[in-house]
């Protein structure tokens, strides 16, 4: 992925951070140069911390008039040469969708953190939910592929924020960090190492900024002010950025390349963790905070001698279809517990040949390990 080691911005050691604070420190470690946002529970603390810390490291923090302005100013900042990030929750994430689509089509690296809360609408602002997973995939209009990560701990909010920047810069795509209120407001130990591995934008003077001959390739990205006379547009464009809004072959080629740019690099993008799957008859497929409860439940039932395994999806989009297909061909049943009415479960059903059973809870509370154990007992 073209990683380069640089010194961490915090002295190496252990820190006691909330999830929101870990996101802020992860962004600083990734050398984020611009963050714009609008206050919203449960993501506000990231903005508050950055408003202080960015001043110390020479980056720009802006509180904008709304979430639309936040994402749009991030895209402007990204083209001006900075790594950019915005932080929000459900209602703000909805407002950002048009801007996310613009970033996809103009191939603009940007990181969007969605600290998910209970929805729809204003819902339960201070309670947990995972209802934005499908919105992450399909929220903006038109056909596109995007990258979405799912952290399960405060440590991962730090690590995955850095990874989100690396993926955004590597693939010139918006990367969504699908946090949840439960981890955003959780306090845990975060270990910071001496160095972090970062990806920098590929530059090549005089090269077309919106096309490569390679289907699925990522073109180099210049910045404003470098004399490249850039033409950036959200309309269908050729490799130099000229609007070509009625040519069938240009639209087909562009949309296809933007799909393949992500899908062809699934091996590099999709991260997951397997637990006890070798002899498992039943598997739990889970992500985010629910994976913590699931692992606890799976290990208790292992102690009882039950053959239960688990896979934790650290990347939600693009979907780990091959991983799920493989597990689905080996186990008899799959349980998919989610803090929504069933979003990832549909994908699991799509790619696995065994029985897939959802468990859905939308009461604003985390799914208790006991509940997952009850559900698993029913499947045995």
């Amino acid at each position: 992925m073209g990683l380069k080691k640089v010194k961490s911005t915090l002295p190496a050691g252990s820190y006691y951070f909330s999830g929101d604070e870990a996101v802020a420190e992860g962004a600083i470690a990734a050398r984020c140069g611009y963050c714009a946002g609008y206050p919203i529970t449960p993501a506000t603390e990231t903005l508050e911390r950055l408003s202080v810390r960015f001043g110390e490291v020479g980056a720009v923090f802006m509180q904008m008039e709304d979430e639309i302005a936040s994402i749009c100013s991030c895209i402007g900042a990204s083209w001006a040469g900075a790594k950019a990030m915005t932080v929000t929750s459900g209602p703000g994430f909805s407002l950002m969708q048009e801007g996310i689509g613009y970033a996809v089509f103009t191939e603009t690296p940007v990181v969007i953190v969605d600290a998910q809360r209970g929805g729809p609408s204003t819902g339960q602002a201070t309670r947990v939910g995972s209802g934005d997973i499908m919105q992450a995939k399909w929220g903006s209009h038109g056909d596109y592929q995007i990258i979405a990560l799912s952290p399960w701990s405060v440590q991962e909010l730090y690590d995955q924020t850095i990874r989100a920047f690396n993926l955004a810069e590597r693939y010139r795509v918006p990367v969504l960090l699908m946090a949840e209120e439960a981890t955003a407001h959780l306090r845990e130990i975060v270990k910071v190492s001496e160095e972090v591995e970062l990806v920098s934008r590929k530059k090549k003077a005089g090269a077309p900024p919106f096309g490569t001959e390679e289907n699925g390739g990522v073109p180099p990205m210049p910045a404003f002010g470098e004399g490249e006379k850039l033409l950036v547009t959200g309309s269908t464009h050729d490799e130099w950025g000229f609007r070509r809004i009625t040519h069938p072959e240009i639209h087909q080629k562009l949309v296809t390349r933007l799909h393949n740019k992500i899908l062809k690099h699934g091996q590099e993008i999709i991260h997951y963790e397997n637990y006890y799957l070798e002899d498992a008859a039943v598997a739990v497929v889970c992500y985010g905070f629910t994976a913590r409860s699931s692992l606890f439940a799976v290990e208790r039932m292992r102690d009882e001698g039950q053959k239960i395994g688990m896979v934790r999806l650290k990347t939600l989009w693009p979907f780990a279809s091959e991983v799920i297909g493989d597990i689905g061909s080996k186990v008899k049943k799959i349980l998919v517990p989610e803090m929504n009415m069933g979003q990832v479960v549909g994908e699991v059903m799509k790619y696995s040949s065994c029985d897939v059973v959802p468990y859905n809870q939308v009461n604003g509370e985390i799914i208790h390990p006991k509940t997952i154990m009850e559900q698993l007992r029913r499947l045995l």
């Binding site: 302005a69 991030c74 950019a84 850039l230 309309s235």
Partner: protein, 255 residues
């Protein structure tokens, strides 16, 4: 003179996309003349535009960095770029519908923050690109594709709005006042802070046609008689000012 301005146009651009008689092509020339007179380096300029006819003035015509953005969000995009690279001369060129209707919130907050941006708002008093619908600058009673019995709502006075929100340079001229317009755009480009120029421009195809305003030449002549300089307007009665367009500088940073 006209050939000299070609250096500011992107190579390969032969024709514009503007309708016959559109005032925005005149405005395109006036903006380039202002840049030429100030001898600004196009390598150092970023033109941000939204969606609509006026958004196509810089994109793709201008031979500089251009960012053709979402409908209404120009000032937000421009703010991010300017804050990250303050050396860039950032100019927003867009229409009245883009900047004042869908983008109205960003316009007033941009003016309030007073970040160093130059805004040129081409006001053609309707949504031209989508076929001539009413917008927040359409005169009371005017016919459009969505006000077949006449616009029932009062229009914005964009200059007063932006001035009240805190812009440090605010002016309005019509494309029929080319020398005053060039001078005003030059002042706006030299202003440190949020500068706003409203450029009143005729839209014969979508607006003139539905309101029986005659040929493009007739519309330009009418515009010339309608424009009254601010200093003169101060001495006129409300009856005398009816249907007039007050032009001039409303604030120039020293008021």
């Amino acid at each position: 003179m006209a050939r000299e301005l070609e250096q500011y146009l992107r190579p390969g651009i032969g024709v514009t996309t503007f309708c016959p008689g559109c005032g925005e092509a005149i405005l395109l020339g006036l903006i380039l003349r202002a840049i030429d007179e100030l001898q600004l380096n196009m390598d150092n300029m970023l033109f941000v535009s939204g969606i609509g006819c006026a958004a196509w003035i810089p994109s793709p015509h201008f031979n500089a960095d251009t960012l053709h953005t979402l409908h209404g969000r120009t000032i937000a995009f421009a703010t991010g770029a300017k804050l990250v690279n303050p050396k860039l001369k950032v100019v927003v060129i867009s229409g009245d519908g883009d900047l004042a209707d869908i983008g109205g919130n960003h316009l007033i907050h941009g003016a309030r923050r007073n970040i160093d941006l130059t805004i040129i708002c081409a006001n053609n008093m309707n949504y031209g690109m989508t076929g001539g619908q009413v917008c927040s600058t359409t005169p009371l009673g005017a016919l459009t594709m969505t006000t077949h019995q006449g616009n029932p709502f009062r229009p914005f006075d964009l200059c007063q709005l932006v001035k009240a929100a805190g812009a440090v340079y605010v002016a309005r001229y019509a494309v029929t006042q080319p020398f005053a317009m060039i001078k005003s755009i030059k002042k706006a480009l030299q202003t440190e802070g949020f500068a706003f120029v409203e450029a009143v421009t005729p839209c014969p195809v979508q607006f003139g046609r539905r309101n029986n305003l005659g040929t493009p030449a007739d519309m330009l002549k009418t515009l010339m008689t309608k424009c009254v300089m601010k200093e003169k307007a101060e001495k006129l009665s409300p009856t005398e000012l009816k249907d007039k367009i007050i032009t001039g500088e409303f604030t120039n940073g020293t008021d």
